[in-house]
């Protein structure tokens, strides 16, 4: 189940549409890391609205993804973590420290825009 990755101006948007296997998660990570370079993207959004579980493996892969993208000079925002999923992650003891999150796609885009303009000022 490949995750479609859309290029929208300076950003890449990956929208997960159904439950992913571990292999799918790793593929998504690697595809985004590669595409950020190919399209010279400034930001990446991973939309996990459709996921009903974010276990320790998925969380770690998302965290690694965000770090790898950061090393490539772009920002990642995870959007759409559902309330039940957030509750389960906290119960499990999973932290996504240092990974930016936003409520939904719109908020995620607004966040990336603000990071971008901050960097332009600096």
């Amino acid at each position: 189940m490949a995750v479609p990755i859309l290029k929208q101006s300076n950003y890449l948007i990956a929208t997960i549409q159904a439950a992913l296997t571990d292999q799918d998660f790793v593929q998504l990570r690697d595809a985004l890391v590669e595409k950020v370079g190919r399209f010279r993207s400034r930001g990446v959004i991973v939309d996990v609205t459709a996921l009903d579980v974010l276990d320790s493996f998925a969380s770690r892969t998302l965290r690694d993804l965000a770090y790898m993208i950061r090393l490539r000079g772009a920002h990642t925002v995870i959007v759409g973590i559902q309330p039940d999923v957030a509750f389960a992650m906290v119960q499990l003891g999973i932290t996504l420290a240092d990974v930016s999150t936003a409520l939904d796609l719109e908020e995620g885009l607004a966040f990336l825009d603000s990071v971008d303009s901050e960097q332009a000022r600096a």
């Binding site: 439950a19 992913l20 296997t21 571990d22 292999q23 009903d52 579980v53 974010l54 276990d55 320790s56 493996f57 969380s59 770690r60 309330p83 039940d84 999923v85 509750f87 389960a88 119960q91 499990l92 003891g93 999973i94």
Partner: protein
């Protein structure tokens, strides 16, 4: 591949062989629908699915293959869901550390077993080096 067995009690049992990461997703889905029958809330369903995910992944990661059994159980007054994850893999040499959390032999987060113990009501782990691992956990619909 899922096998549905109806037992004398009328309660259901589902056995899912775990051979690849796709089976982790199947086990999760089967567990969610079984737990729905018991009437768990949507956040409890997510906790149960997450626990299945962690236990099934440990099978793939450490033992290569094994089996997850999901069943509806009843203790006289309340129903619940029991998850049994068993394998004939290498076993766990330091059970105490593995269950305490933050300990991983694979560079993982070490949150699987500790997390599952926290989110389920009953937790039992049988394991010895060389003789496989069996984790049995239950969540009651109170």
């Amino acid at each position: 591949m899922t096998k549905l067995i109806s037992r004398d009690s009328g309660l259901e049992q589902v056995r899912i062989p775990i051979h690849s990461d796709i089976d982790i997703v199947s086990a999760r889905h089967a567990g969610r629908s079984l737990a729905e029958q018991v009437g768990f809330s949507s956040s409890e369903l997510t906790l149960i699915a997450t626990a299945i995910s962690e236990l099934a992944r440990n099978i793939i990661e450490y033992a290569k293959f094994g089996e997850v059994t999901l069943e509806i159980v009843n203790n006289g007054s309340v129903n619940g869901v029991r998850i049994t994850a068993s394998d004939t893999g290498p076993g766990i040499s330091n059970i105490e550390m593995a269950v305490r959390g933050g300990y991983s032999t694979s560079g993982g987060l070490g949150l699987g077993l500790a997390g599952v113990r926290h989110i389920m009501d009953n937790f039992d782990l049988q394991s010895a080096p060389g003789s496989g691992t069996c984790v049995t956990v239950t969540k009651w619909k109170l």
